[in-house]
Symmetry: C2
Subunit: 318 residues, 2 copies
């Protein structure tokens, strides 16, 4: 079992001792349809449901979908969410306490009865505004922002919302327009607070379409200790994975990891195996990583997920 | 306005300063149908909705009524409730933080979406198990147990549940039987943790029926500072209100205040006025006190509610 393999990577204290070690929280922020759930799903599968809890901050929406539509701001606005309560719950979880989490059902767009979330070793917090408040950010061991290019995100969101959430296509297009001012004001600025910014997109000049796996560009800010990638990403794999020094949108220095989807898979997999080994992983890279909706698989996604697993497990051992 | 009158009793700091003073919590525990809501209603009306919040711990039931019926224990059992979450929420409220409180709708017996409870100056916590956990008890400035005699409580509960909660009479009688073991094991033992035990019942030898206002016996334990009743309850009012030294069920010393419903109302009212004055109240005793379901009024209830107001306001000024 994959979860058992990863289990070996964490130093365990005597039986029951885990309760004394507070959970490690990792945040994945990004706009609706950016791919947060896809990224999270692989992490949760690799660690196993006994060890990881997922908190989706959409559950902290204040309003039903129908009520939200009559308001002059969208569900992306901080005041459309119980953010103070979300902060409180994240603080409680980070200290190892259970919370009674509200729920929002996306299929019907309605608020439901709350559910108990008990402390686990790891908590992945995904949300539109996961990096909005300082109080929430102080709870995370690592903060990720998913900066999917807008045309791609619109296409993913349109597909999901019309197939799974009961939206019509025209209605969905209107909703995307309506959300743009709040997305610009509240969602995209959060990238500045991320330790890791992940962007899945076709690399310029590469023969990739939306139907093919996308390449990934990952900004690694020096705000948390990353694995020593310069020892792993060697020139022999340069076509598949490259590490360069760059600047982010604010001009601050960052490491830029580019992972090509069009390189021979063997090269990408060699780097994956080395990150997995650096992480202390025995045997093979878990096969649950890299899974895309519809049964496809992305090698760049595997590597991004391995990097996030690295941060979860390092923080647990720290 | 009554709430403004009582408002004058609390020393206010400069504008907004109230937020720095954590709320005062008062607990009212007792079995289903004991009269918790009636006792609470007068307190809440006297203080006004801006200043007092009411938390009904029935909202922390784990199960819908239908699901609860198939379980081998009743809703009175601690494990049928999210008590750890209730404790957490009481601690947060006691520190002046908001909570997202679950809800349980007694009409349909179903769990609903949670509601935001923001800090107020006072919080009245009523519940079957309000005094069960040490963690909850540590949050209260005063803890009350309503020890209504069983025949009277059954009658009140039967009336309420068949008129307001959709139970049939036979079904309700069966439910009372089913609950008795849990009531004996978990509800009634909480009286030992109360600072004040209130018992509404006909006094022995008095010509009272269930249709008439009941007399009250109030045990005042020396666990919190009570008003100086020996100066107020003088021999001239002995027929209406008497204070004697006694022992509780465990043999521990207590003050016993007996308030007769059959004495001339003028005597009881004179004592009420003196407690109101001791409490710093201007003008008249608030007319919202003493209200019973169905529009009737109880002079003993007025006095009990005044005693509890005394504790709320003293704790706020302490």
């Amino acid at each position: 079992m994959v979860s058992e393999t990863v289990g070996l990577l964490v130093k365990r204290s005597t039986a029951g001792g885990e309760w004394r070690v507070p959970p490690v929280l990792l945040a994945i922020a990004g706009d609706s349809g950016a791919g947060k759930a896809t990224l999270t799903r692989g992490l949760a599968a690799a660690l196993g449901p006994d060890r990881v809890g997922v908190v989706d901050l959409d559950d902290y929406h204040r309003h039903d979908r129908a009520d939200q539509r009559s308001l002059p701001y969208t569900a992306l606005h901080p005041k459309a969410n119980y953010l103070e309560i979300a902060d409180q719950h994240l603080e409680l979880l980070a200290r190892g306490h259970p919370v009674l989490k509200p729920t929002y059902d996306h299929r019907g767009g309605v608020l439901g009865r709350p559910v108990l979330v008990e402390p686990r070793e790891f908590v992945v917090v995904e949300g539109l505004l996961a990096l909005w408040s300082r109080r929430a950010r102080s709870c995370y061991s690592a903060a990720v922002f998913l900066e999917t290019p807008e045309p791609l995100r619109h296409r993913w969101k349109m597909h999901r919302d019309t197939t799974e959430r009961g939206y019509g296509e025209g209605e969905e297009a209107e909703e995307l327009d309506r959300r743009e001012p709040d997305a610009a004001a509240f969602i995209r600025p959060q990238a500045a607070h991320a330790d890791i910014v992940v962007r899945f997109a076709p690399l310029p000049g590469r023969p990739e379409g939306l139907e093919h796996p996308l390449s990934a560009t990952v900004l690694l800010r020096p705000t948390i200790p990353h694995p020593n990638l310069s020892a792993i990403v060697t020139p022999e794999h340069a076509e598949a994975v490259a590490l360069t020094l760059g600047r982010d949108d604010a001009g601050l220095p960052v490491d830029v990891l580019t992972i090509s989807a069009s390189a021979p898979a063997a090269h990408t997999r060699a780097v994956q195996a080395q990150v997995w080994a650096a992480l202390g992983g025995a045997d093979e890279v878990p096969t649950c990583l890299g899974a895309l909706p519809g049964g496809r698989r992305s090698e760049p996604l595997v590597l991004v997920q391995l990097l996030l697993l690295y941060h979860l497990i390092q923080a647990r051992q720290a």
